[in-house]
């Protein structure tokens, strides 16, 4: 599906139907694996047929074609096994037609099943809920298509046990949120816009559940995604938050993120995604970097730390973010002292060195800043970040030599 230059179909609308149709099939007792395959075939057929002959009811069309494929598949199997298939051909009805939101939630719980490894949860979610092709998912994660196909089919087989045991367990929303966030964070690279896909899925999730953390996650994604246009310069170089051209930020996305966040906070059941979104909102709210409300940000980081018993070990990223806020509110030396707590936990991670470099620079200590940025560069795990830290090191090193 990826390589086509011309796409006459509204593919977004088509893909939005995937969870509804798939959930309909699974709810009436179809095997998840077989139903998902049948629906993928139906989608391929839709891409071929619809440009010339658009259906009156696209959802019903997909459900009918997928059902036909399922019946065909069972017939050929039955012919081999000499088994009667009449019972299957007549779909069982699973009570009243569920709402669209329920379908999405139901499928997300299937795809984010705790028995699956995170990479499988992500892949299956993108295919079964997002409606992406295996090829597109493979491209997004830079693995061969055959590898991704195998990962997806193994994941589906893991779910293929008795539905009563596998799929009717109450889902763990926290896992679903984590999987969507994984999709989002993987999404700033590659040809497929995974960040946009994660936002789309999170938006669907907020229609399906009142849970404030689902809204918190959507808000967090929107408020970060709004800054994406300023995150790289024309040469593809990383531009840090303090140096971004804020006129490039997407005001519409920020406004939506703030609205979603407010509706979540109003429910007064705080969680980490809501708090992180609040911090992102405060950054987004500053028209110039000097206007950043660091005391407020620090207060939210205190809330974030209070969500776990032992933040240093359980949430070192929050403690590291807080150290930056402390550096701005109480001074760089105080911020650096905060990072000391983390030395044994994430002292080998590039972010720890990068934050130390930032705080040393804030303190005007250029030699230590240059050394910390060089340490960050040695530990970076992607090329853009490695190049960024090398540049930071060279810049502070040069400034030190010329002063």
């Amino acid at each position: 599906m990826t390589g086509d230059a011309h796409r006459p179909l509204d593919e977004g609308a088509l893909r939005a139907l995937v969870p509804r149709v798939l959930a309909g099939l699974v709810r009436r007792g179809e095997d998840f694996d077989a139903a998902e395959d049948a629906l993928q075939e139906a989608l391929m057929a839709a891409l071929r047929v619809w440009p010339d002959r658009p259906p009156r009811d696209p959802q019903a069309w997909l459900a009918t074609v997928a059902t036909r494929r399922l019946v065909d598949a069972r017939r050929s199997e039955a012919a081999r096994r000499r088994r009667e298939d009449a019972a299957h051909a007549e779909p069982r009805l699973g009570g009243p037609a569920p709402e669209e939101g329920d379908d999405t939630l139901f499928l997300l719980f299937c795809c984010c099943h705790p028995d699956l490894a995170p990479a499988s949860q992500v892949a299956l979610t993108l295919r079964a809920v997002g409606g992406l092709s295996t090829r597109e998912i493979a491209d997004a994660f830079y693995v061969p298509e055959a590898t991704m196909a195998q990962r997806i089919s193994r994941a589906k087989r893991a779910l293929a046990g008795p539905p009563a045991r596998r799929l009717d367990q109450p889902g763990d929303l926290a896992v679903v949120l984590r999987v969507l966030y994984l999709v989002y964070t993987a999404g700033h690279r590659g040809r497929v816009d995974l960040a946009g896909e994660a936002i789309r899925l999170a938006r669907q999730l907020t229609l399906a559940t009142e849970e404030p953390e689902a809204r918190g996650l959507l808000a967090l994604m929107l408020l970060n995604h709004a800054r994406l246009p300023a995150r790289l310069d024309s040469e593809g170089r990383i531009v840090t938050l303090d140096r971004q051209d804020r006129s490039l930020w997407d005001r519409r996305e920020i406004a939506e993120g703030v609205r979603v966040l407010q509706s979540a906070l109003a429910m007064e059941r705080p969680g980490r995604y809501q708090v992180e979104a609040a911090i992102a909102a405060l950054h987004d709210d500053a028209e110039r970097v000097e206007e950043t409300d660091w005391p407020q940000i620090l207060a939210w980081y205190d809330d974030l730390g209070a969500l776990t018993d032992d933040p240093v070990r359980q949430d070192p990223a929050a403690v590291l973010g807080r150290a930056v806020a402390v550096g701005h509110v109480l001074g760089a030396a105080a911020g650096l002292r905060e990072t000391d707590w983390l030395r044994d936990v994430i002292g080998d991670h590039h972010r720890w060195h990068a934050v130390r470099g930032y705080l040393h620079e804030l303190a005007g200590d250029l030699p230590d800043a240059a050394a910390a940025y060089a340490d960050a560069a040695r530990r970076a795990t992607n090329v853009a970040e490695r190049d960024h830290f090398v540049r930071q090191a060279a810049r502070t090193h040069a400034a030190e030599s010329s002063s």
């Binding site: 040469e235 040695r378 970076a380």
Partner: protein, 137 residues
């Protein structure tokens, strides 16, 4: 067409032709020129139809071996001698000939260093074994 790996090394290999300080101590404009050249090489290979893959490796290295029955893998991540070989990354290219691979490796090695001077870095050129059937015996 044969495939070659052009390997860049953090350390190891013949005596450097030209010693340079680590890149984080270069002038910022020299860093920019170096990174721009690396990008240019990838684009050039793509335009020539010679590009297969380019990857960079982090310097963290762990040696691992089977620990024996019912034993955990045995690992060592150092300290390794400063002279030991450490691969930094590669270009994989698909070219007409060995001579073309050498030509491209030399071009990679001309990457600009401090003051815009060529780095004369040693590049390790390795042929990738092909899947094609060997000549009939």
């Amino acid at each position: 067409m044969p495939k070659y790996l052009l390997l860049k090394h953090y350390r190891g290999g013949p005596e450097p032709h030209h010693r340079v300080p680590p890149m984080d101590q270069w002038a910022p404009e020299d860093v920019e020129a170096h990174i721009a050249f690396m990008k240019h090489v990838s684009e050039l290979l793509e335009q020539n139809g010679e590009y297969v893959d380019v990857q960079a490796l982090t310097p963290a290295q762990t040696w691992v071996r089977y620990g024996g029955p019912d034993a955990a893998p045995v690992t060592t991540d150092g300290p390794l001698p400063e002279t030991s070989d450490l691969v930094a990354g590669w270009y994989m290219i698909d070219v007409e000939s060995y001579e073309r691979a050498v030509e491209l490796a030399a071009y990679v090695s001309s990457e600009p260093g401090p003051g815009g001077e060529p780095m004369y870095e040693w590049i390790d050129v390795r042929e990738v074994m092909s899947d094609a059937p060997a000549d009939p015996a």
